[in-house]
Amino acid sequence: MSVSETRRIRLPRPAHRIPSWLRLPLEWFALPILIVLAWSLISIVAPNPRFPAPAMIGDAFVENWINETFLTDVLPSLGRLGLGILLAIVLGIGVGVLVGSIKWLRELLEPAFEFFRAVPPPMIVPVLVMVLGADDTMKVVVIAAGAMWPILLNTIEGVRAVDQVQRETARAFQLQRWHRLCFITLPSASPQIMAGVRQSLSVALILMVISEMFLASSGLGYRIEVFKQNYAYAPMWSIILLLGLVGVLLAVLFQIAERIVLTWYRGLKEAERA
C-alpha cells in the first residue's frame, strides 16, 4: 500500500494555544459568565417580571440577605441544620455500630429500618409539627430523623463487612472492645459511613427548608413563604442563589471531612493500583 493511500492520522491538537495560567479560570468561569450574559441580554430585549435580570437578583440578594436577616434568619437556619446533621451522624453511627456488630439484632431490626428509611422524610414534618409543636426542637428532630437513615443503614452494612481475618486477629490478640471499635470496626466501615453521610446531606438541607415552612416565624423556609405570598420575584430568585451557596458550602465541608477521614483509604487504593 502506498503512502498516498493511507489515511492521515489525526494527531492530537497542540494544547498550548491557550496560555496555561488562563486555562483553569477559563474552564471554571466561561460558561457561568456566558449564561449570566445571555440571561441579561434576554431580559433587556424581552423583559419579563418573572425572570428578573441577574443584576436585579444580585441586588435582591444583597438587599435581603446581607443585613440583619443574616443573623435572624440565615444563621439560625444553618445552626439547626448543623445540629440536625450532627445528631443524625451520632445516632446513625452509634446505633449502626451496635446493630451491625450483633447478628441477631441486625436480622431483627433491618427490615423495620428499611421501612423507616423508605418513608419520604418530608411526610414526617407535619406529623412532628403535630406532636412536638413548631419550635426549634421540632426542626432539629425533623432534620436528624430524616437524615439519620442513610447513615444508619450504611454503617450497619459497613460494620457487617469488616474483614473476617482482621476481626479474628483482634480477638486472638485480646484487643479491648474499645480499641477494636476505634482501630478496626470504625476505620473499616468509614468509606460506607461517608457514603451514607453524603446521601443524607441533601435530604437534611431539604428538611431544613420544609421544617421552616410550617407555622414558622423565621428562617429561610419562612422567607420563601413570605416572598411567595408577596409575589416578590427577584427575592424568590435570590433565595435560590442563597440556598445554592449553602449547598456548595456543605459539599465543600463534606469533601474536606471525607479527605481527612478517608486518607488511609485513598492511600490503600493507590497502593493497590500501583
Binding site: 418573572r50 431483627l108 427490615p111 418513608v119 418530608p122
Partner: protein, 264 residues
C-alpha cells in the same frame, strides 16, 4: 442437611417479622400506657384500622394514583434528559470541563428553593410539582451518566477507533454498555429522590396526591389517618425500591457485579 439450611434461610425472615411486630407492640403500648400523648400519636391498631378503611376508599386510591403518575412522569423526563445531556457532555472533554463549575453549583440547590418560582410560573398544580421532581432527579442521573461515559475502557476505545467503527455502533456497543451500570445506579438513587420530591410538592404546593391527602386529614384532625398515610408513603417507596432493584438485576444480568466473580 436440608432442614438446617431451610432453617438458616428462614431465620432472618422470622427475626425480621418479629422486629416489625415488636415495633408495632411497643407503639401500641406506648400510646395505651400514656408514655406519649395519645391525642397526637394514635395507637398502632387504630392506625392500621385507618389504613384498612383507606383501602376501601376510592378517593384514597385516586390520590395514590396521582402520586404515582407524578413520580413516573418526573422520573421519565429526568432520566431521558440525564441520559441525553450526560452522553453529549460526557463524550466531549471540552464540554465536560466547561460545564463542571456550573453543574457543581446547580446540583446542590435544594429543589424546595425552586418551589416559589415554579408555582408563580406554572400555578399550584402538578406542573409546578414536576419541575421540582425533575430538577432533583435529573442531577442524580446526569452525574452517574457522566461518570459512566467517562469510564469507557481506553483499549476498547482505541480498538474501535483503529477498526474505523462508526459513531452509531460506538455508542450502542461500547459507550452504552459501559455506562449502563452507572445509569442504573443513577436511576435507583433518582427513584428515591423523585418520590421524596413528589410528596414534597403535594405537601407544600398542594398538587393532588397522598401528600395533599395527609394535609387534608391533618386539618380535619384525623390523626390515625395521617399516620396511615405516612405508612402508605413508606410502602409505596419500598415497592418502588424493590421494583427498581429487580429491573437493575435483570438489565445488568450480563454484568460482573450481578453475575458474581465467575471470570475476570
Amino acid at each position: 442437611m436440608r432442614g438446617t439450611s431451610t432453617a438458616r434461610r428462614l431465620r432472618p425472615v422470622l427475626l425480621g417479622v418479629t422486629g416489625v411486630l415488636a415495633f408495632l407492640v411497643i407503639w401500641e403500648l406506648a400510646t395505651r400506657l400514656g408514655w406519649v400523648n395519645a391525642r397526637y400519636v394514635p395507637p398502632a391498631s387504630e392506625t392500621l384500622a385507618a389504613l384498612g378503611a383507606f383501602l376501601l376508599d376510592r378517593h384514597f386510591w385516586r390520590m395514590v394514583g396521582d402520586t404515582m403518575v407524578t413520580w413516573a412522569i418526573g422520573m421519565s423526563i429526568a432520566t431521558i434528559a440525564g441520559i441525553v445531556l450526560g452522553t453529549v457532555i460526557g463524550l466531549s472533554p471540552f464540554l465536560r470541563s466547561a460545564t463542571r463549575t456550573t453543574i457543581e453549583f446547580l446540583r446542590p440547590i435544594p429543589s424546595v428553593a425552586i418551589i416559589p418560582v415554579a408555582v408563580v410560573l406554572l400555578g399550584p398544580d402538578r406542573d409546578a410539582s414536576l419541575v421540582i421532581v425533575v430538577f432533583a432527579t435529573f442531577w442524580q442521573v446526569l452525574i452517574q451518566v457522566l461518570y459512566g461515559v467517562a469510564d469507557v475502557d481506553p483499549v476498547a476505545r482505541d480498538t474501535q477507533r483503529s477498526f474505523g467503527i462508526g459513531a452509531f455502533h460506538r455508542f450502542f456497543h461500547l459507550v452504552f454498555p459501559t455506562a449502563l451500570p452507572y445509569l442504573m445506579t443513577g436511576i435507583r438513587l433518582g427513584a428515591t429522590v423523585a418520590m421524596i420530591l413528589t410528596v414534597t410538592g403535594e405537601l407544600l404546593i398542594g398538587a393532588a396526591g397522598i401528600g395533599r391527602l395527609l394535609m387534608e386529614r391533618s386539618t380535619v384532625g384525623d390523626y390515625a389517618g395521617v399516620y396511615a398515610i405516612v405508612v402508605t408513603a413508606g410502602l409505596l417507596a419500598l415497592g418502588i425500591n424493590l421494583v427498581v432493584r429487580v429491573v437493575e438485576r435483570r438489565v445488568l444480568a450480563w454484568h460482573q457485579s450481578v453475575r458474581g466473580e465467575v471470570l475476570v
